[in-house]
Symmetry: C2
Subunit: 311 residues, 2 copies
Protein backbone atom coordinates (compact mmCIF):
# COMPACT_ATOMS: atom_id res chain seq x y z
CA UNK A 1 0.00 0.00 0.00
CA UNK A 2 1.45 3.31 -1.10
CA UNK A 3 1.41 6.91 0.06
CA UNK A 4 -0.87 7.64 -2.87
CA UNK A 5 -3.30 4.92 -1.74
CA UNK A 6 -3.61 6.66 1.62
CA UNK A 7 -4.11 10.08 0.05
CA UNK A 8 -6.82 8.77 -2.27
CA UNK A 9 -8.49 6.89 0.56
CA UNK A 10 -8.64 10.01 2.70
CA UNK A 11 -10.06 12.12 -0.14
CA UNK A 12 -12.64 9.42 -0.80
CA UNK A 13 -13.97 9.03 2.74
CA UNK A 14 -13.80 12.70 3.79
CA UNK A 15 -17.51 13.36 3.19
CA UNK A 16 -18.44 10.46 5.46
CA UNK A 17 -16.17 11.09 8.43
CA UNK A 18 -15.28 13.82 10.90
CA UNK A 19 -11.76 15.25 10.97
CA UNK A 20 -11.80 14.77 14.72
CA UNK A 21 -10.26 17.32 17.07
CA UNK A 22 -6.85 16.87 18.68
CA UNK A 23 -6.88 17.69 22.39
CA UNK A 24 -3.94 18.65 24.54
CA UNK A 25 -3.62 19.06 28.30
CA UNK A 26 -0.82 20.91 30.04
CA UNK A 27 -1.77 19.11 33.21
CA UNK A 28 -1.23 15.69 31.66
CA UNK A 29 1.96 16.90 30.00
CA UNK A 30 3.29 18.21 33.31
CA UNK A 31 2.29 14.98 35.03
CA UNK A 32 4.31 12.85 32.60
CA UNK A 33 6.97 15.06 31.01
CA UNK A 34 5.63 14.07 27.58
CA UNK A 35 4.02 16.43 25.09
CA UNK A 36 0.77 14.65 24.21
CA UNK A 37 -1.56 15.12 21.24
CA UNK A 38 -4.76 13.13 21.65
CA UNK A 39 -6.52 12.39 18.35
CA UNK A 40 -10.09 11.97 19.54
CA UNK A 41 -11.69 9.26 17.44
CA UNK A 42 -14.21 8.82 20.23
CA UNK A 43 -15.77 11.89 18.58
CA UNK A 44 -15.82 10.10 15.21
CA UNK A 45 -19.20 9.22 13.75
CA UNK A 46 -20.70 6.22 15.60
CA UNK A 47 -18.02 6.81 18.21
CA UNK A 48 -14.90 5.10 16.86
CA UNK A 49 -12.19 5.13 14.20
CA UNK A 50 -13.79 2.04 12.63
CA UNK A 51 -16.04 4.35 10.63
CA UNK A 52 -13.04 5.25 8.46
CA UNK A 53 -12.15 1.75 7.35
CA UNK A 54 -15.75 0.70 6.91
CA UNK A 55 -16.50 3.65 4.66
CA UNK A 56 -13.40 3.07 2.56
CA UNK A 57 -14.01 -0.66 2.17
CA UNK A 58 -17.56 -0.15 0.92
CA UNK A 59 -16.58 2.70 -1.41
CA UNK A 60 -13.99 0.49 -3.10
CA UNK A 61 -16.57 -2.11 -4.12
CA UNK A 62 -17.91 -2.35 -7.67
CA UNK A 63 -21.42 -1.09 -8.36
CA UNK A 64 -22.63 -4.68 -8.60
CA UNK A 65 -21.07 -5.57 -5.29
CA UNK A 66 -22.65 -2.52 -3.69
CA UNK A 67 -26.06 -3.60 -5.00
CA UNK A 68 -25.67 -6.96 -3.25
CA UNK A 69 -24.66 -5.52 0.09
CA UNK A 70 -21.93 -6.24 2.60
CA UNK A 71 -21.66 -8.65 5.50
CA UNK A 72 -19.47 -8.89 8.57
CA UNK A 73 -19.48 -10.65 11.89
CA UNK A 74 -18.84 -8.41 14.85
CA UNK A 75 -20.55 -7.45 18.04
CA UNK A 76 -18.34 -4.43 18.54
CA UNK A 77 -17.75 -1.05 16.96
CA UNK A 78 -17.19 -2.44 13.47
CA UNK A 79 -20.76 -3.74 13.34
CA UNK A 80 -22.02 -0.22 13.91
CA UNK A 81 -19.43 1.34 11.62
CA UNK A 82 -20.26 -0.92 8.69
CA UNK A 83 -23.98 -0.32 9.21
CA UNK A 84 -23.63 3.46 9.32
CA UNK A 85 -21.19 3.63 6.42
CA UNK A 86 -23.42 1.36 4.33
CA UNK A 87 -26.47 3.45 5.17
CA UNK A 88 -24.72 6.61 4.00
CA UNK A 89 -23.76 4.91 0.75
CA UNK A 90 -27.12 3.31 0.08
CA UNK A 91 -25.77 -0.20 0.60
CA UNK A 92 -27.34 -3.00 2.62
CA UNK A 93 -25.29 -4.25 5.61
CA UNK A 94 -25.83 -7.72 7.08
CA UNK A 95 -24.35 -7.97 10.56
CA UNK A 96 -23.89 -11.42 12.08
CA UNK A 97 -23.96 -11.13 15.87
CA UNK A 98 -23.88 -13.74 18.61
CA UNK A 99 -27.33 -14.17 20.19
CA UNK A 100 -25.65 -13.40 23.51
CA UNK A 101 -24.71 -9.85 22.41
CA UNK A 102 -26.28 -7.15 24.59
CA UNK A 103 -29.60 -5.80 23.33
CA UNK A 104 -28.13 -2.28 23.31
CA UNK A 105 -25.54 -3.35 20.72
CA UNK A 106 -28.13 -4.97 18.47
CA UNK A 107 -30.30 -1.88 18.77
CA UNK A 108 -27.34 0.36 17.88
CA UNK A 109 -26.67 -1.64 14.70
CA UNK A 110 -30.34 -1.51 13.74
CA UNK A 111 -30.41 2.20 14.56
CA UNK A 112 -27.73 2.72 11.92
CA UNK A 113 -29.74 0.72 9.39
CA UNK A 114 -27.85 -2.59 9.73
CA UNK A 115 -29.69 -5.89 9.33
CA UNK A 116 -28.89 -8.09 12.35
CA UNK A 117 -28.59 -11.87 11.92
CA UNK A 118 -28.19 -13.72 15.19
CA UNK A 119 -26.21 -16.93 15.59
CA UNK A 120 -24.73 -19.16 18.27
CA UNK A 121 -21.89 -17.46 20.14
CA UNK A 122 -19.01 -19.37 18.55
CA UNK A 123 -16.55 -18.30 15.90
CA UNK A 124 -17.56 -21.30 13.79
CA UNK A 125 -21.25 -20.36 13.87
CA UNK A 126 -20.44 -16.74 13.01
CA UNK A 127 -18.31 -17.72 10.05
CA UNK A 128 -20.87 -20.25 8.80
CA UNK A 129 -23.64 -17.67 9.03
CA UNK A 130 -21.57 -15.05 7.20
CA UNK A 131 -20.74 -17.57 4.49
CA UNK A 132 -24.42 -18.35 4.01
CA UNK A 133 -25.23 -14.67 3.59
CA UNK A 134 -22.46 -14.26 1.07
CA UNK A 135 -23.88 -17.16 -0.91
CA UNK A 136 -27.54 -16.29 -0.52
CA UNK A 137 -27.37 -12.57 -1.32
CA UNK A 138 -24.04 -12.27 -3.10
CA UNK A 139 -22.99 -9.94 -0.29
CA UNK A 140 -19.30 -9.09 0.06
CA UNK A 141 -17.62 -10.03 3.32
CA UNK A 142 -15.70 -7.18 4.94
CA UNK A 143 -13.30 -8.14 7.69
CA UNK A 144 -13.11 -5.66 10.61
CA UNK A 145 -9.32 -5.43 10.57
CA UNK A 146 -7.63 -7.82 8.11
CA UNK A 147 -8.55 -6.04 4.89
CA UNK A 148 -6.35 -3.66 2.89
CA UNK A 149 -9.10 -1.10 2.37
CA UNK A 150 -9.99 -1.17 6.05
CA UNK A 151 -6.32 -0.76 7.00
CA UNK A 152 -5.98 2.25 4.69
CA UNK A 153 -9.12 3.81 6.13
CA UNK A 154 -7.93 3.40 9.71
CA UNK A 155 -4.63 5.04 8.73
CA UNK A 156 -6.36 8.30 7.86
CA UNK A 157 -6.74 9.24 11.55
CA UNK A 158 -2.95 9.37 11.87
CA UNK A 159 -2.73 11.26 8.55
CA UNK A 160 -4.97 13.98 9.97
CA UNK A 161 -2.98 14.03 13.21
CA UNK A 162 0.29 14.49 11.28
CA UNK A 163 -1.31 17.14 9.06
CA UNK A 164 -1.97 19.14 12.21
CA UNK A 165 1.25 18.20 14.04
CA UNK A 166 3.85 17.14 11.44
CA UNK A 167 6.78 16.65 13.77
CA UNK A 168 5.54 13.99 16.17
CA UNK A 169 8.22 11.68 17.52
CA UNK A 170 5.78 8.88 18.31
CA UNK A 171 2.27 7.83 17.57
CA UNK A 172 0.76 5.24 19.88
CA UNK A 173 -2.35 3.13 19.22
CA UNK A 174 -4.02 0.20 20.90
CA UNK A 175 -3.53 -3.19 19.24
CA UNK A 176 -6.48 -5.50 18.73
CA UNK A 177 -7.13 -7.02 15.33
CA UNK A 178 -4.28 -4.94 13.93
CA UNK A 179 -6.15 -2.75 11.44
CA UNK A 180 -5.64 0.49 13.32
CA UNK A 181 -1.99 0.02 14.14
CA UNK A 182 -1.15 -1.20 10.62
CA UNK A 183 -2.87 1.78 9.00
CA UNK A 184 -1.31 4.14 11.52
CA UNK A 185 2.16 2.69 10.91
CA UNK A 186 1.77 3.23 7.16
CA UNK A 187 0.59 6.81 7.69
CA UNK A 188 3.45 7.55 10.13
CA UNK A 189 5.93 6.02 7.67
CA UNK A 190 4.69 8.05 4.69
CA UNK A 191 3.68 11.31 6.35
CA UNK A 192 5.80 11.58 9.51
CA UNK A 193 9.31 12.89 9.90
CA UNK A 194 10.92 10.04 11.79
CA UNK A 195 7.62 9.34 13.55
CA UNK A 196 7.74 5.91 15.21
CA UNK A 197 4.60 3.84 15.68
CA UNK A 198 4.22 2.09 19.02
CA UNK A 199 1.46 -0.29 20.10
CA UNK A 200 -0.17 -0.63 23.48
CA UNK A 201 -1.62 -4.04 24.30
CA UNK A 202 -3.18 -5.54 27.42
CA UNK A 203 -0.87 -8.07 29.05
CA UNK A 204 -3.88 -10.38 29.25
CA UNK A 205 -4.23 -10.56 25.44
CA UNK A 206 -0.65 -10.02 24.33
CA UNK A 207 -0.91 -11.99 21.09
CA UNK A 208 0.52 -9.14 19.00
CA UNK A 209 3.50 -8.75 21.33
CA UNK A 210 4.19 -12.47 21.10
CA UNK A 211 3.60 -12.49 17.33
CA UNK A 212 6.29 -9.85 16.82
CA UNK A 213 8.69 -11.96 18.91
CA UNK A 214 7.95 -15.28 17.22
CA UNK A 215 7.50 -13.95 13.70
CA UNK A 216 4.14 -15.70 13.26
CA UNK A 217 0.57 -14.83 14.22
CA UNK A 218 -0.06 -15.97 17.78
CA UNK A 219 -3.44 -16.37 19.47
CA UNK A 220 -4.76 -15.74 22.97
CA UNK A 221 -5.77 -18.68 25.13
CA UNK A 222 -7.80 -16.43 27.40
CA UNK A 223 -9.11 -12.92 26.83
CA UNK A 224 -9.56 -11.65 30.35
CA UNK A 225 -9.29 -7.89 29.77
CA UNK A 226 -11.47 -4.86 30.33
CA UNK A 227 -10.39 -3.64 26.88
CA UNK A 228 -12.98 -5.67 25.05
CA UNK A 229 -12.17 -4.16 21.67
CA UNK A 230 -8.70 -5.73 21.81
CA UNK A 231 -9.51 -9.40 22.24
CA UNK A 232 -9.09 -10.20 18.55
CA UNK A 233 -5.91 -11.37 16.85
CA UNK A 234 -3.76 -10.15 13.98
CA UNK A 235 -4.31 -11.26 10.37
CA UNK A 236 -2.16 -12.02 7.36
CA UNK A 237 -2.82 -8.63 5.74
CA UNK A 238 -1.90 -6.42 8.67
CA UNK A 239 0.79 -8.52 10.38
CA UNK A 240 3.49 -7.98 7.72
CA UNK A 241 2.90 -4.21 7.90
CA UNK A 242 3.18 -4.32 11.68
CA UNK A 243 6.39 -6.36 11.43
CA UNK A 244 7.87 -3.85 9.04
CA UNK A 245 6.75 -0.55 10.53
CA UNK A 246 5.91 -0.93 14.23
CA UNK A 247 8.84 -0.29 16.54
CA UNK A 248 7.54 -1.90 19.68
CA UNK A 249 4.49 -3.18 21.49
CA UNK A 250 4.23 -2.23 25.16
CA UNK A 251 2.11 -4.44 27.38
CA UNK A 252 0.04 -3.04 30.24
CA UNK A 253 -1.74 -4.54 33.22
CA UNK A 254 -5.47 -4.19 33.79
CA UNK A 255 -4.97 -1.77 36.70
CA UNK A 256 -2.79 0.42 34.48
CA UNK A 257 -5.56 0.55 31.88
CA UNK A 258 -8.13 1.68 34.45
CA UNK A 259 -5.76 4.31 35.88
CA UNK A 260 -5.03 5.65 32.40
CA UNK A 261 -8.72 5.69 31.53
CA UNK A 262 -9.51 7.61 34.68
CA UNK A 263 -6.88 10.25 33.90
CA UNK A 264 -8.32 10.69 30.41
CA UNK A 265 -11.84 11.09 31.78
CA UNK A 266 -10.86 13.38 34.66
CA UNK A 267 -8.19 15.49 33.03
CA UNK A 268 -8.97 15.41 29.31
CA UNK A 269 -12.75 15.42 30.04
CA UNK A 270 -13.52 12.81 27.41
CA UNK A 271 -15.58 9.65 27.49
CA UNK A 272 -13.38 6.93 26.00
CA UNK A 273 -13.27 3.16 26.01
CA UNK A 274 -10.79 1.08 28.00
CA UNK A 275 -9.21 0.14 24.64
CA UNK A 276 -8.41 3.81 24.04
CA UNK A 277 -6.77 4.05 27.43
CA UNK A 278 -4.43 1.17 26.59
CA UNK A 279 -2.32 3.37 24.26
CA UNK A 280 -2.01 6.07 26.91
CA UNK A 281 -1.27 3.46 29.58
CA UNK A 282 1.59 2.17 27.43
CA UNK A 283 3.26 5.59 27.57
CA UNK A 284 2.70 5.87 31.33
CA UNK A 285 4.31 2.43 31.65
CA UNK A 286 7.47 3.59 29.86
CA UNK A 287 7.70 7.22 30.93
CA UNK A 288 11.45 7.58 30.32
CA UNK A 289 11.16 6.51 26.69
CA UNK A 290 8.64 9.27 25.94
CA UNK A 291 10.09 12.02 28.15
CA UNK A 292 10.31 15.31 26.25
CA UNK A 293 8.88 13.66 23.12
CA UNK A 294 5.94 14.79 21.02
CA UNK A 295 3.62 11.84 21.26
CA UNK A 296 0.35 11.33 19.41
CA UNK A 297 -2.21 9.02 20.97
CA UNK A 298 -5.09 7.65 18.91
CA UNK A 299 -8.11 7.67 21.23
CA UNK A 300 -9.84 4.86 19.40
CA UNK A 301 -13.42 5.09 20.59
CA UNK A 302 -15.94 6.12 23.17
CA UNK A 303 -18.53 3.40 23.32
CA UNK A 304 -18.90 2.48 26.98
CA UNK A 305 -21.73 1.51 29.27
CA UNK A 306 -22.04 4.29 31.83
CA UNK A 307 -23.79 1.90 34.17
CA UNK A 308 -20.68 -0.30 34.33
CA UNK A 309 -17.68 1.94 34.76
CA UNK A 310 -14.54 0.59 36.43
CA UNK A 311 -14.35 3.56 38.78
CA UNK B 1 -19.56 47.29 27.46
CA UNK B 2 -18.89 47.64 23.76
CA UNK B 3 -18.06 45.38 20.84
CA UNK B 4 -14.54 46.78 20.95
CA UNK B 5 -14.25 45.83 24.64
CA UNK B 6 -15.00 42.23 23.73
CA UNK B 7 -12.55 42.20 20.83
CA UNK B 8 -9.78 43.63 22.99
CA UNK B 9 -10.57 41.22 25.81
CA UNK B 10 -10.34 38.24 23.46
CA UNK B 11 -7.03 39.41 22.00
CA UNK B 12 -5.70 39.94 25.50
CA UNK B 13 -6.55 36.54 26.96
CA UNK B 14 -5.82 34.42 23.85
CA UNK B 15 -2.35 33.32 25.04
CA UNK B 16 -3.86 32.03 28.29
CA UNK B 17 -6.88 30.11 27.02
CA UNK B 18 -7.77 27.39 24.53
CA UNK B 19 -10.02 28.16 21.58
CA UNK B 20 -12.04 25.08 22.50
CA UNK B 21 -13.45 22.76 19.85
CA UNK B 22 -17.08 22.82 18.76
CA UNK B 23 -18.58 19.33 18.56
CA UNK B 24 -21.59 18.25 16.55
CA UNK B 25 -23.55 15.01 16.52
CA UNK B 26 -25.92 13.92 13.78
CA UNK B 27 -27.41 11.47 16.22
CA UNK B 28 -28.34 14.19 18.70
CA UNK B 29 -29.58 16.40 15.86
CA UNK B 30 -31.76 13.60 14.51
CA UNK B 31 -33.05 12.86 18.01
CA UNK B 32 -34.24 16.44 18.51
CA UNK B 33 -34.71 18.06 15.11
CA UNK B 34 -32.33 20.83 16.17
CA UNK B 35 -28.95 21.55 14.61
CA UNK B 36 -26.64 21.70 17.63
CA UNK B 37 -23.17 23.21 17.99
CA UNK B 38 -21.61 22.36 21.33
CA UNK B 39 -18.88 24.78 22.41
CA UNK B 40 -16.82 22.56 24.69
CA UNK B 41 -15.54 24.70 27.53
CA UNK B 42 -15.11 21.51 29.53
CA UNK B 43 -11.92 21.28 27.44
CA UNK B 44 -10.88 24.77 28.56
CA UNK B 45 -7.83 25.06 30.79
CA UNK B 46 -8.69 23.93 34.35
CA UNK B 47 -11.87 22.50 32.87
CA UNK B 48 -14.29 25.43 32.63
CA UNK B 49 -15.10 28.74 30.91
CA UNK B 50 -14.23 30.53 34.16
CA UNK B 51 -10.61 30.61 33.04
CA UNK B 52 -11.54 33.29 30.50
CA UNK B 53 -13.00 35.79 32.92
CA UNK B 54 -10.34 35.17 35.56
CA UNK B 55 -7.54 35.80 33.08
CA UNK B 56 -9.15 38.98 31.79
CA UNK B 57 -9.87 40.38 35.24
CA UNK B 58 -6.29 39.93 36.39
CA UNK B 59 -4.82 41.32 33.16
CA UNK B 60 -6.84 44.50 33.56
CA UNK B 61 -5.28 45.30 36.94
CA UNK B 62 -2.57 47.92 37.32
CA UNK B 63 1.00 46.77 37.88
CA UNK B 64 0.73 47.77 41.53
CA UNK B 65 -2.49 45.81 41.96
CA UNK B 66 -0.86 42.79 40.34
CA UNK B 67 2.03 42.99 42.78
CA UNK B 68 -0.39 42.81 45.71
CA UNK B 69 -2.31 39.82 44.42
CA UNK B 70 -5.99 38.95 44.01
CA UNK B 71 -8.52 37.40 46.33
CA UNK B 72 -11.85 35.67 45.84
CA UNK B 73 -14.16 33.43 47.79
CA UNK B 74 -15.29 30.35 45.93
CA UNK B 75 -15.18 26.63 46.36
CA UNK B 76 -16.00 25.98 42.72
CA UNK B 77 -14.41 26.40 39.33
CA UNK B 78 -13.65 30.09 39.79
CA UNK B 79 -11.28 29.29 42.67
CA UNK B 80 -9.25 27.10 40.34
CA UNK B 81 -9.56 29.51 37.42
CA UNK B 82 -8.31 32.50 39.39
CA UNK B 83 -5.42 30.44 40.78
CA UNK B 84 -4.34 29.16 37.37
CA UNK B 85 -4.75 32.52 35.64
CA UNK B 86 -2.84 34.25 38.43
CA UNK B 87 -0.07 31.67 38.26
CA UNK B 88 0.34 32.24 34.51
CA UNK B 89 0.55 35.98 35.08
CA UNK B 90 2.94 35.85 38.05
CA UNK B 91 0.30 37.15 40.46
CA UNK B 92 -0.53 35.79 43.91
CA UNK B 93 -4.08 34.42 44.34
CA UNK B 94 -5.70 34.15 47.78
CA UNK B 95 -8.69 31.82 47.73
CA UNK B 96 -11.09 31.88 50.66
CA UNK B 97 -12.81 28.50 50.91
CA UNK B 98 -15.21 27.08 53.50
CA UNK B 99 -13.46 24.59 55.77
CA UNK B 100 -16.12 22.08 54.70
CA UNK B 101 -14.98 22.15 51.06
CA UNK B 102 -13.83 18.73 49.79
CA UNK B 103 -10.09 18.11 50.11
CA UNK B 104 -9.90 17.46 46.36
CA UNK B 105 -11.05 21.04 45.65
CA UNK B 106 -8.53 22.54 48.05
CA UNK B 107 -5.82 20.39 46.49
CA UNK B 108 -6.84 21.51 42.99
CA UNK B 109 -6.54 25.17 43.96
CA UNK B 110 -3.15 24.56 45.54
CA UNK B 111 -2.09 22.55 42.49
CA UNK B 112 -2.70 25.65 40.39
CA UNK B 113 -0.63 27.75 42.77
CA UNK B 114 -3.50 29.33 44.71
CA UNK B 115 -3.11 30.12 48.40
CA UNK B 116 -6.06 28.60 50.31
CA UNK B 117 -7.51 30.38 53.35
CA UNK B 118 -10.13 28.37 55.17
CA UNK B 119 -13.09 29.88 56.99
CA UNK B 120 -16.43 28.93 58.53
CA UNK B 121 -18.94 27.81 55.89
CA UNK B 122 -21.11 30.93 55.93
CA UNK B 123 -21.31 33.77 53.43
CA UNK B 124 -20.62 36.22 56.24
CA UNK B 125 -17.42 34.42 57.26
CA UNK B 126 -16.25 34.24 53.64
CA UNK B 127 -16.81 37.91 53.04
CA UNK B 128 -15.15 38.88 56.30
CA UNK B 129 -12.12 36.74 55.51
CA UNK B 130 -11.85 38.20 51.99
CA UNK B 131 -12.08 41.70 53.38
CA UNK B 132 -9.27 40.99 55.82
CA UNK B 133 -7.02 39.78 53.02
CA UNK B 134 -7.81 42.85 50.97
CA UNK B 135 -6.80 45.01 53.91
CA UNK B 136 -3.80 42.99 55.03
CA UNK B 137 -2.15 42.45 51.65
CA UNK B 138 -3.73 45.14 49.50
CA UNK B 139 -5.09 42.31 47.33
CA UNK B 140 -7.84 43.11 44.83
CA UNK B 141 -11.12 41.27 45.24
CA UNK B 142 -12.36 39.61 42.03
CA UNK B 143 -15.97 38.48 42.03
CA UNK B 144 -16.63 35.20 40.19
CA UNK B 145 -19.50 36.59 38.11
CA UNK B 146 -20.50 40.14 39.01
CA UNK B 147 -17.52 41.96 37.51
CA UNK B 148 -17.35 43.68 34.13
CA UNK B 149 -13.97 42.21 33.22
CA UNK B 150 -15.14 38.73 34.20
CA UNK B 151 -18.32 39.16 32.16
CA UNK B 152 -16.32 40.23 29.09
CA UNK B 153 -13.99 37.26 29.49
CA UNK B 154 -16.85 34.78 29.71
CA UNK B 155 -18.35 36.30 26.55
CA UNK B 156 -15.34 35.25 24.49
CA UNK B 157 -16.50 31.62 24.34
CA UNK B 158 -19.58 32.74 22.41
CA UNK B 159 -17.41 35.02 20.24
CA UNK B 160 -15.34 32.02 19.19
CA UNK B 161 -18.47 29.98 18.58
CA UNK B 162 -19.91 32.69 16.33
CA UNK B 163 -16.58 33.09 14.54
CA UNK B 164 -16.86 29.44 13.55
CA UNK B 165 -20.66 29.40 13.00
CA UNK B 166 -21.79 32.97 12.32
CA UNK B 167 -25.43 32.23 11.59
CA UNK B 168 -26.63 30.64 14.80
CA UNK B 169 -30.28 31.29 15.64
CA UNK B 170 -29.81 30.65 19.36
CA UNK B 171 -27.08 30.33 21.90
CA UNK B 172 -28.01 28.67 25.18
CA UNK B 173 -26.05 28.81 28.42
CA UNK B 174 -26.66 27.74 31.99
CA UNK B 175 -27.49 30.54 34.44
CA UNK B 176 -25.78 30.65 37.82
CA UNK B 177 -24.19 33.86 39.03
CA UNK B 178 -24.94 35.44 35.64
CA UNK B 179 -21.42 36.10 34.35
CA UNK B 180 -21.53 33.55 31.56
CA UNK B 181 -24.99 34.38 30.27
CA UNK B 182 -24.36 38.14 30.43
CA UNK B 183 -21.08 37.85 28.51
CA UNK B 184 -22.68 35.46 26.05
CA UNK B 185 -25.62 37.79 25.49
CA UNK B 186 -23.27 40.68 24.75
CA UNK B 187 -21.28 38.54 22.30
CA UNK B 188 -24.44 37.27 20.58
CA UNK B 189 -25.72 40.84 20.35
CA UNK B 190 -22.52 42.24 18.84
CA UNK B 191 -21.32 39.31 16.73
CA UNK B 192 -24.43 37.28 15.86
CA UNK B 193 -26.91 37.83 13.06
CA UNK B 194 -30.17 37.80 14.97
CA UNK B 195 -28.73 35.28 17.43
CA UNK B 196 -30.92 35.07 20.53
CA UNK B 197 -29.47 34.21 23.94
CA UNK B 198 -31.47 31.81 26.07
CA UNK B 199 -30.74 30.65 29.60
CA UNK B 200 -31.25 27.25 31.15
CA UNK B 201 -31.81 27.19 34.89
CA UNK B 202 -32.68 24.46 37.37
CA UNK B 203 -36.26 24.80 38.63
CA UNK B 204 -34.87 24.28 42.12
CA UNK B 205 -32.78 27.48 41.95
CA UNK B 206 -34.84 29.61 39.58
CA UNK B 207 -33.77 32.97 40.96
CA UNK B 208 -32.80 34.33 37.53
CA UNK B 209 -36.14 33.31 36.04
CA UNK B 210 -37.95 35.07 38.86
CA UNK B 211 -35.64 38.07 38.68
CA UNK B 212 -36.50 38.62 35.01
CA UNK B 213 -40.20 38.46 35.92
CA UNK B 214 -40.04 40.78 38.92
CA UNK B 215 -37.43 43.17 37.54
CA UNK B 216 -35.24 42.89 40.64
CA UNK B 217 -32.60 40.43 41.79
CA UNK B 218 -34.27 37.51 43.53
CA UNK B 219 -32.63 34.95 45.79
CA UNK B 220 -33.09 31.21 46.35
CA UNK B 221 -34.48 30.01 49.66
CA UNK B 222 -33.17 26.50 49.01
CA UNK B 223 -30.52 25.27 46.57
CA UNK B 224 -31.43 21.65 46.15
CA UNK B 225 -29.94 20.95 42.70
CA UNK B 226 -27.38 18.59 41.24
CA UNK B 227 -26.06 21.53 39.21
CA UNK B 228 -23.89 22.83 42.00
CA UNK B 229 -22.30 25.52 39.85
CA UNK B 230 -25.68 27.26 39.52
CA UNK B 231 -26.62 27.86 43.13
CA UNK B 232 -25.41 31.46 43.14
CA UNK B 233 -27.50 34.52 42.35
CA UNK B 234 -27.31 37.38 39.87
CA UNK B 235 -25.54 40.64 40.62
CA UNK B 236 -26.00 44.32 39.84
CA UNK B 237 -23.41 44.29 37.03
CA UNK B 238 -24.75 41.34 35.05
CA UNK B 239 -28.49 41.61 35.76
CA UNK B 240 -29.09 44.73 33.60
CA UNK B 241 -27.31 43.04 30.68
CA UNK B 242 -29.44 39.94 31.13
CA UNK B 243 -32.59 42.06 31.26
CA UNK B 244 -31.63 43.81 28.06
CA UNK B 245 -30.25 40.95 25.97
CA UNK B 246 -31.58 37.60 27.18
CA UNK B 247 -34.77 36.49 25.51
CA UNK B 248 -35.91 33.87 27.93
CA UNK B 249 -34.90 31.61 30.79
CA UNK B 250 -36.15 28.03 30.57
CA UNK B 251 -36.43 26.08 33.80
CA UNK B 252 -35.68 22.37 33.99
CA UNK B 253 -36.30 19.67 36.54
CA UNK B 254 -33.54 17.65 38.17
CA UNK B 255 -34.46 14.50 36.22
CA UNK B 256 -34.25 16.46 32.97
CA UNK B 257 -30.75 17.61 33.88
CA UNK B 258 -29.58 14.05 34.52
CA UNK B 259 -31.15 12.79 31.28
CA UNK B 260 -29.51 15.60 29.30
CA UNK B 261 -26.17 14.94 30.99
CA UNK B 262 -26.39 11.27 30.12
CA UNK B 263 -27.07 12.02 26.45
CA UNK B 264 -24.04 14.33 26.33
CA UNK B 265 -21.81 11.70 27.90
CA UNK B 266 -23.14 8.81 25.82
CA UNK B 267 -23.63 10.48 22.47
CA UNK B 268 -21.22 13.40 22.44
CA UNK B 269 -18.63 11.36 24.40
CA UNK B 270 -17.69 14.22 26.68
CA UNK B 271 -17.30 14.47 30.42
CA UNK B 272 -19.31 17.51 31.48
CA UNK B 273 -20.83 18.85 34.67
CA UNK B 274 -24.53 18.81 35.50
CA UNK B 275 -24.47 22.62 35.10
CA UNK B 276 -23.43 22.15 31.47
CA UNK B 277 -26.29 19.78 30.88
CA UNK B 278 -28.80 22.37 32.09
CA UNK B 279 -28.46 24.39 28.87
CA UNK B 280 -29.01 21.32 26.72
CA UNK B 281 -31.88 20.19 28.96
CA UNK B 282 -33.56 23.56 28.38
CA UNK B 283 -33.64 22.88 24.63
CA UNK B 284 -34.96 19.35 25.14
CA UNK B 285 -37.66 20.86 27.35
CA UNK B 286 -38.82 23.20 24.57
CA UNK B 287 -38.18 21.10 21.47
CA UNK B 288 -40.68 22.91 19.24
CA UNK B 289 -39.06 26.28 19.81
CA UNK B 290 -35.68 25.04 18.60
CA UNK B 291 -36.87 22.75 15.80
CA UNK B 292 -34.86 23.31 12.62
CA UNK B 293 -32.81 26.02 14.33
CA UNK B 294 -29.06 26.34 14.55
CA UNK B 295 -28.45 26.28 18.26
CA UNK B 296 -25.16 26.80 20.06
CA UNK B 297 -24.80 25.33 23.53
CA UNK B 298 -22.05 26.48 25.86
CA UNK B 299 -20.81 23.35 27.62
CA UNK B 300 -19.62 25.23 30.65
CA UNK B 301 -17.31 22.80 32.41
CA UNK B 302 -16.20 19.27 33.08
CA UNK B 303 -15.28 19.13 36.72
CA UNK B 304 -17.15 16.15 38.16
CA UNK B 305 -16.41 13.46 40.69
CA UNK B 306 -16.39 10.17 38.77
CA UNK B 307 -17.06 8.34 42.01
CA UNK B 308 -20.41 10.13 42.38
CA UNK B 309 -22.15 10.10 39.02
CA UNK B 310 -25.95 10.33 38.87
CA UNK B 311 -26.11 7.34 36.52
Amino acid sequence: MTKQDLIECHDRIKPFIHNTPVLTSRLINDMTGTHFFFKCENFQRMGAFKMRGAANAIMQLSEEQKRNGVVTHSSGNFAQALSLAAQGLGVKAYIVMPNTAPQVKKDAVRGYGGFVIECEPTLEARERESKQIEEKYGATFIHPSNDDQVILGQGTACMELLEAYPDLDFVVTPVGGGGLIAGTALAAHYFGKQCKTIGGEPLEVDDAYRSLLSGKIETNETTNTIADGLKTQLGDRNFPIIQQHVGEIIRVKEAEIVTAMRILWERLKIVCEPSSAVAFAAVLNQKEKFKGKKTGIIISGGNVDLAHLPF
